[in-house]
Each structure stands twice: as C-alpha cells, then as structure tokens.
C-alpha cells in the first residue's frame, strides 16, 4: 500500500512537471536543489522545434484545417438539400469510422450537389461524396466501402502530409500553434479547395482502398462494396467528363482492382457481411 502511494505521488509529480513549461521546471528545480541547472543548448531547442514541425499540427489544428478546406469545397458544391440523405450518410459513416483507430474524431459526412463521380476527404474527419457517385451505389455496403476509403485518407493523414511537404507548412506550423484567424488558415491550405483537386501519391490511394475494405468488414458489411463500385466506375469511358477529375487524381480503377485483388486474395473467403440493400437510402432520379 505504502509503495503504491509513493508511486502515485511520483506520478503526480511527473504529471505536474509535464504541465510546466521547460523554463519553469528548470527554475523550480534550481530553487529546490540549490544547484545550477545547465542552460539548455540553443541548438537543442532548435532541434526540438524542428521535431515539432515534422510531427505537424495537433488534432485541434488538423480539424481547423479540414474545416476550412470543407467550407471551401461546399462553396464550390453545396450539400444536396435532403436532410434524410445527409443523416443516413452520417450514420453509415460514423459507424465505419468508429472501427478505425481514430473513433473520437468529430467525423462529418455529406453528399454534395455535383454530377461528377468523386469523393473527398479533408483532415480532421470531413468527408464528402458527390451525388454523381452516390447514384452509382447499389447498397449500404457500397457506401460503407467508399466512406471507408475516405476515412483511410483521414486516419493516415494523407492530405495533411501533402500540406506539410509544401512550402505552406514551414510558415504554418508556427502560425497554427497560436490562435489563428481564417485568413492565415486559408494561406496554409492554398487557394480555395485546390488541395482536394491535387492528386495524392498512388500508394496513398492503394492504401486507402485496403483500409476501405477492412473498415467495411470490421463494421459488419460485405467487404466487396468498394471493389464493386470501382468495377462500376471502371466501366466509364475515360473521356466521360463526370470522371475526369477522379481519373486525373487517382490511379485508374483497373489498377486499383488489380492491387486490391493481390491484397485481398483469399483472406475474405470465410467472411460474410451484410449489404443492406433494403435499408439503403435511394435518391430521387
């Protein structure tokens, strides 16, 4: 019991210490121990701040970035004005996202008014599917697979990494550590919602596909929703305007299906899942 209390107090001290800034801690140690604590090497401080930059923005900042991007995207294509549809997509999306390692993000899903076939993810858990893509879906498992792919981009921070690679972040990381106005945030993400029009690395897309089928499976759905949608999209002529941006920013559906085939193999053979065709919310044509 006694040792337990000792341990607890040690933890308590460490907890308090962690909450003090480095300077205060040094000062208080100095006062307590009456010894001269050596100055922190300035090069070391520099290294620490570089490390912070590499680590990137924290979760609050990530959400603020994603919110700004999403608000811009909605400026280009507003939500479909169908509350039942929006609620339904959030129900499916929230359930799929809860199977990921970031269940506590404030996840948001929406269907946007566009005939294009596409879906977008922004940092912090904002995900949008175009009406053109939604209309291709046959059941809830298809939707779960598509949303799972986008959740994959968010949890692996694919877009955030792009922002970090660009010149924007060097300025950004410091700006973001303080309270920021929308203007500074906007500078960070570039012009409008261009970040979502910029293609990710092919491997990031393949990774998101693998995550999409796994999250749908974990959520109890048929794993083959996403591959089925990719089959449908692969059917589109490449010259079709509605898939122009999608094909420009993603590997072609056939490549994605080949990669999924190799990755999935026979692993899903004994796994059955639901498609929930009857519950699937259908939009009016």
């Amino acid at each position: 019991m006694k040792t337990k209390i000792q341990w607890l107090s040690l933890f308590g001290f460490l907890f308090l210490a962690a909450n003090c800034s480095a300077f205060d801690l040094r000062q208080s140690l100095k006062d307590k121990l009456k010894v001269d604590v050596p100055q922190v090497n300035p090069k070391l401080t520099e290294a620490v701040s570089v490390a912070k930059e590499v680590r990137g923005p924290d979760e609050t900042e990530e959400i603020a970035i994603g919110r700004q991007i999403s608000g811009n995207l909605l400026g280009a294509a507003p939500l479909v004005k169908d509350a039942k549809l929006q609620k339904y997509v959030n129900q499916v999306g929230a359930w799929v996202a809860s199977q990921s390692e970031r269940p506590d993000l404030p996840w948001h899903f929406g269907v946007i008014q566009s005939d294009d076939v596409n879906a977008f993810a922004a940092p912090g858990g904002y995900i949008f599917v175009t009406l053109g893509l939604y209309r291709l879906l046959q059941n809830e498992a298809d939707l779960a697979g598509v949303l799972g792919h986008e959740v994959g981009h968010v949890i692996r921070k694919h877009h955030l990494k792009i922002l970090q690679q660009s010149q924007l972040v060097e300025a950004g990381s410091n700006i973001l550590s303080r309270q920021v106005g929308n203007d500074k945030l906007q500078n960070l993400i570039g012009s409008g919602a261009e970040i979502v029009a910029r293609g990710l690395d092919k491997d990031a897309e393949f990774e998101a596909d693998r995550i999409g089928v796994v999250l749908a499976t974990r959520a109890g759905y048929d794993a083959y929703g996403l591959p089925g949608v990719l089959q449908q999209i692969g059917h589109f002529a490449a010259a079709d305007n509605s898939v122009a941006l999608l094909f420009k920013t993603h590997p072609l559906p056939d490549d994605r299906l080949n990669k999924l085939d190799s990755a999935m193999g026979e692993r899903f053979d004994s796994i059955k899942g639901q498609t929930l065709e009857k519950r699937f919310y259908r939009v009016k044509k």
């Binding site: 997509v89 499916v92 046959q138 999935m264």
Partner: protein, 165 residues
C-alpha cells in the same frame, strides 16, 4: 396483394437472377475457374481463360454470377473487369486527360459544366452556412452503434491488409 406477390415471384423465376440485375458484359483478366456456387471449395465447372468474354448476371459478396459460353456459374469478382476491355483504344485519350493536354499538346478542357473542375475548386470561397449545416448532421458513436444494431451489423476484428509485393 396476393396477385402482386404471385407476379413478383413469377418475375424472379423467369429472370433467374435478382431483380436489380440486367446482364452486363465483362472480361476475365486472368485464368480462373467457373464454380457451381459462390465459394472457393465449390465444384469447378470449367476453366476460364484470361481475355474470355462473359455476361455478368448477378453478385454475391466477392463473386459474380456469370454466363460463360453456354455455362452458368460463379467466378471471383476480382478476376473480372466489367466492360468489353476496349479501353486500350482510349488510352491516348486518357493520357491526354491526365496531363490536361491532347495529343497535339493543346490544352483541353477536362471537366464539364456541371462537374467539379480544378478551376472551380481553386476559386471556391468559404461557405459558413453550408459547413454549419453539414456539421448539424453529425452522428455520435452511441447513435452509430444503435444504427448498426438496427441493421444487425456486428463489429468484428479484422487486421489491416499488408501492402502487396
């Protein structure tokens, strides 16, 4: 009501496939087997060769119900690509599309009027009302669990897939 049911059943029997499915064409992308049922250990009906044209009649999980020549059976969905595999013909068009240029080097428009093109996305400005509306539809984890339970969706562990070599 009874009449309707009889009609519905008759339709299903006549079509021999789920109602939503109209036959679509497809092509085998690799050698595989036509199975009597949609699972791995089912009886093999015949061998299918890469490049073979088939009709897709239905879907069950990772399997397509197909017609290959005169035989009907099941094949792995990922061994098939929908369409007639005439995509090679449009490969140049596709490359041009990817670079935003056609074969002559002229910049071509990549999206239609109602689509979302890069210029529109770049020019877009923040819509506060829409983002607030989007956020108003948020579903918390407890409600998501209820929604899942209603659909008899059971969460289960499944490891992420390694990147294929």
């Amino acid at each position: 009501m009874k009449k309707f049911l009889i009609w519905a059943i008759a339709c299903c029997v006549l079509c021999g496939a789920p109602l939503a499915w109209a036959a679509e064409s497809g092509t085998l992308t690799k050698n595989d087997e036509l199975k009597a049922q949609p699972y791995r250990d089912a009886k093999t009906l015949k061998a299918l060769a890469a490049g073979e044209k088939i009709s897709i009649l239905g879907k069950d999980g990772g399997w397509y119900k197909i017609k290959a020549g005169k035989s009907r059976g099941w094949v792995r969905m990922l061994s098939v690509r929908k369409g007639n595999a005439k995509k090679a013909a449009s490969a140049t068009g596709l490359l041009a599309l990817a670079s935003g240029r056609n074969a002559t080097g002229k910049v071509v428009a990549t999206t239609g009027i109602r689509g979302l093109n890069e210029e529109e996305l770049k020019a877009a400005s923040f819509n506060a009302d829409e983002i607030q509306l989007a956020e108003s539809y948020a579903v918390n984890q407890a409600d998501a669990r209820k929604f899942a339970a209603k659909g008899k969706l059971l969460a289960r562990p499944f490891d992420y897939l390694p990147q294929p070599q």
